[in-house]
């Protein structure tokens, strides 16, 4: 069962490139370490002092520094795939596993094309020494870019194996078939395992440009629900996350945190800490840390340090939205502030519209709060550095380390063990840099695990924002003019998919009071919340049903299909108990189409809002692993509940006020509604990633349902941190 199946139209893999994106973590490096003495003379001797110059990098989605693109991918099979003498197929990718189960679905892709059992495949992921360069695991890019890449590699390897067998048996390759890890010649009834053909040699052959894939209609491994391939390691506690790594002779590190953001060290007394046996104290600029034989002693040493910090007055969450509007950057030369979408004349059409509506929406900063906080183990060997850490960008963190310690990137190895989640929050290498600095001083491997409070405070946040919409309608409910301004939260999902002739859509970057960066679905959550809430407000203006109103203004067939599918499954238009409301929201993001219907119950006396039921219809092309897709959709909705209902970072004068799980409320079991998922499998469309877009319809669906139940329109996320006040 091989040959060269042709690729159906529309299934060509996308080139591996990043779409221009959104917002960037515009933070300079946290530390400017002094070169150590030996290194300082080395640098002087060479006549150059390489200072990592910080410049605003181009508008890629990723948060974090050392953005690099254009690095060409290796084109030989051996860089990506190796067939061992025991028949194990080792696959190398710079993508990383943070719970999205991409280790499993990428294995399915390779197994399919190579015709081997999934359990023969071993994925080596996110190791900068072993895997090809990769920008990072974000933006739902793994399925649309790395899957086709690995399928191409596996298909090339498969063709090569057939060639090897054909040469060996002196038969035409056309009559050979591959199945279950063997090449067979049905005529002569000969067959050989891949391992016997390759004999452990590296496959140096080039990946053919014309390598072709098995189309989704003929998939037998993909398109099926394969459970997490190494799930047993996790339910038995055997898997070693970054924070579980240990090395012989390893010390435990702690870093002294300033009392506020942007504080600088005014005075320091470490003498008491230094008197504790076996403790190393490190002071380098504003960086102060300790290394001790145990984490308890490290904590004790940290507490013994006397430090005074100089702080500056900073904005607080109470004045956040005024601050963002006031500090908007109006110049148009920064690229991301330029005109995003302009068509027709909004002003003229608005003036002559039958109905006009103008509204403003806000979203708060929220924290990713991955259950495993940032962690790293760093080990120096001379000038070479190895760091195990949890990051979505191992190559980016390699760059951060090289810059921080003024060493060439090839001297740094970053290894990313499968990590306790990220949600866009682990693009940066703070813990890696800190652990490496401590290890250099203590002259032993050092492990640093951030506390929950550190993770809440010193990581970065999903951007807050203000969104203003102004639209005009004809009496028949046709939207004729659409003006949309987003301040700070980002550009993802900013464009409207409704068919509106006159449009003006702008993103305005502003100064951000907090360090901000990527977050699952980025600003698509904010932009969809505003747009889809506003659509409901418009529908009410012309007494139209929210579904009918959307469909009237929407031509896109894929999006119409998910709205209709969600509404049907949900029972849109059906009866509801008293105090309950129905709402919907949906959209298009990262090549995924989603529509969400929600039912809420509002307790009139207490104002308590309970989300009772959520139906999500989702379509992202050909489905690779249906149950994992459902898992991602359910998970996205539950994570999204927090930001929709109650999550918000409170801050004052450079301090986070609710940086613990006891004061920052995340969704818990009692918050979880009944979740139903409708999957639309489009085998004629290339598979898109699905880690992000399923959650974008949730917040507006809930907001619209609250309004349906109570008549109260909520225009800020989170919507009901303390229950529904005005109900």
């Amino acid at each position: 069962m091989t040959g060269k199946p042709h690729l159906p139209v529309g299934l060509e893999p996308e080139p591996i490139a990043l779409e221009p994106e959104r917002y960037e973590l515009n933070a300079p490096p946290a530390y400017r370490f002094e070169p150590d003495r030996r290194q300082f003379f080395k640098l002087l001797g060479a006549g150059i002092l390489v200072m990592g110059a910080w410049k605003r990098s181009s508008a890629f989605q990723e948060s974090g520094r050392s953005t690099r693109s254009g690095e060409s991918l290796p084109n030989d099979i051996g860089a990506w795939l190796h067939i061992g003498e025991n028949g194990t197929v080792t696959v190398y990718t710079g993508k990383v596993e943070v719970g999205q189960n991409i280790r499993t679905s990428l294995s399915q892709c390779v197994a399919e094309e190579l015709h081997v059992a999934v359990n023969r495949i071993q994925m080596v992921m996110g190791d900068t020494q072993l895997t090809p360069f990769d920008l990072g695991t974000f933006g739902s890019r793994t399925t649309p870019t790395m899957s086709p890449q690995l399928r191409k590699v596996a298909a090339a390897a498969r063709d090569l194996l057939i060639d090897l067998a054909a040469t060996r048996w002196q038969v035409p390759r056309q009559r050979l078939v591959v199945a279950d890890g063997r090449v067979a010649d049905p005529e002569s009834k000969r067959s050989l395992e891949y391992a016997a053909l390759v004999k452990g040699q590296e496959l140096t052959q080039a990946i053919s440009a014309e390598a072709s894939f098995i189309p989704p209609t003929r998939w037998t491994v993909q398109g099926r629900s394969l459970p997490k391939i190494d799930g047993r390691e996790f339910v038995t506690g055997k898997h070693r996350y970054p924070s579980d790594q240990t090395l012989p002779g390893m010390g435990h590190g702690k870093v002294l945190r300033p009392p506020a953001f942007a504080a600088t060290l005014a005075s320091l007394d470490t003498s008491e800490a230094e008197r504790i046996p076996q403790v190393t104290v490190v002071h380098d600029g504003n960086f102060v840390g300790v290394v001790a034989p145990s984490s308890e002693i490290a904590v004790r040493a940290l507490k013994a340090i006397r430090a005074e910090w100089k702080t500056e007055p900073q904005p607080s969450s109470g004045e956040l939205f005024e601050y963002l509007k006031k500090n908007a950057v109006e110049d148009n030369d920064a690229g991301s502030d330029s005109s995003l979408d302009d068509a027709g004349s909004v002003e003229k059409t608005l003036a002559s519209a039958d109905h006009r509506l103008q509204q403003s929406y806000t979203v708060s900063y929220i924290a990713h709060a991955p259950l495993e906080p940032r962690a790293a183990v760093a080990q120096w060997s001379g000038d070479r550095l190895t760091v195990w850490t949890g990051t979505q960008r191992p190559f980016g963190v390699r760059g951060e380390l090289a810059e921080a310690f003024r060493i060439p990137e090839p001297s740094v190895r970053v290894i990313m063990p499968d990590t306790g989640s990220g949600y866009g929050g682990k693009h940066t290498g703070e813990a890696a840099v800190e652990a490496a600095r401590l290890a250099r001083a203590a002259k032993c491997p050092v492990k640093l695990v951030w506390t929950r409070e550190e993770e809440f405070t010193w990581a970065y946040f999903r951007p807050a924002g203000v969104i203003e919409i102004n639209a005009g309608l004809r009496a028949d409910g046709t939207i004729v003019a659409w003006e949309f301004h987003n301040y700070n939260s980002g550009e993802a999902g900013i464009k409207t998919y409704y068919d509106i002739a006159n449009r003006k859509i702008r993103f305005h970057s502003t100064r951000s009071p907090l360090r901000q960066g990527s977050y699952r679905a980025l600003a698509a959550t904010a932009n969809h919340f505003a747009r889809e809430s506003f659509m409901d407000e418009l529908a009410r203006l012309v007494n139209s049903d929210p579904l009918d109103f959307r469909l009237k203004n929407l031509k896109n067939e894929r999006l119409r299909a998910v709205f209709e599918a969600a509404a049907k499954k949900f029972g849109w238009g059906g009866t509801k108990p008293p105090g309950h409301g129905f709402g919907m929201g949906g959209g298009f993001e990262k090549a995924g189409n989603v529509a969400t219907c929600a039912e809420v119950a509002v307790e009139r006396t207490t104002g308590e809002v309970r989300v009772v039921r959520v139906v999500t219809a989702f379509e992202c092309g050909a489905i690779v692993n249906p149950d994992n897709l459902r898992n991602q959709i359910e998970g996205g909705n539950i994570l999204g509940l927090g930001g929709a209902l109650f999550e918000a970072i409170k801050f004052e004068n450079g301090r986070v006020l609710n940086g613990r799980f006891s004061s920052y409320r995340v969704p818990r079991f009692s918050d979880v509604p009944t979740l139903e998922t409708v999957l639309l499998d489009r085998k004629d469309i290339a598979s898109a990633g699905a880690g992000e877009s399923p959650l974008i319809g949730l917040a507006p669906a809930i907001g619209n349902a609250i309004c349906d139940a109570t008549g109260v329109r909520i225009r800020s996320l989170p919507m009901v941190p303390d229950g529904l006040k005005a109900g």
Binding site: V98, K228, F234, S243, E372, D418, N628, G635, R668
Partner: protein, 163 residues
């Protein structure tokens, strides 16, 4: 307080040497290399560090090792019997009740304690008992389904779950 020199973990007596006020979590992880028990918050709010002490679930991050005495500690590493997984472990796999799985040990240990006292729980009972455990990936419905499945595996004679 005198240092603690001995701990009963997963059926064997282990020699340690730590101050009595050291958290049980760091003794398990750093002294005994039982890293299946996770740090998540350090304040007993997330449940990632849950272990069994004499069969009852306890937050090891806020349990001082000096208070454990000769009681039996069970961690996730001690739940399976040889190669045979505990029904909860098996059910979590079958229901794909995990994504990053960092919360999984704590979920399973909390559920193990709960099922001992509630052999035939409803979904609402389970949800209520798991309220102190955080899963950020959002696999809650699957975790509830897995615990219900495990309950049936543990008590095959029970006639259908209560509603």
């Amino acid at each position: 307080m005198a240092p603690v020199t001995n701990l009963n973990v997963n059926g064997s007596s282990r020699t340690i040497d730590v101050e009595a006020d050291t958290s049980l979590l760091s003794v398990l992880r750093d002294q005994l290399d039982l890293t299946g028990t996770k740090y998540g918050c350090g304040e007993g709010q997330c449940g990632a560090c849950t272990v069994l002490i004499d069969g009852n679930s306890r937050r090891s991050c806020i349990t001082q090792v000096g208070t454990v005495g000769q009681k039996q500690i069970t961690t996730i590493e001690g739940l399976a019997q040889g190669e045979r997984l505990h029904p909860l472990q098996q059910a979590f796999l079958e229901e794909a009740a995990m994504q990053c799985a960092y919360c999984t040990s704590g979920m399973i240990m909390t559920a193990a304690s709960f099922l001992r006292a509630n052999p035939n729980p409803s979904a609402a009972d389970i949800s209520h008992s798991m309220e102190g455990n955080i899963c950020r990936c959002g696999t809650h419905p699957r975790i509830v389904a897995a615990i219900q499945k495990a309950a049936k595996m543990l008590n095959p004679t029970m006639k259908g779950a209560r509603r």
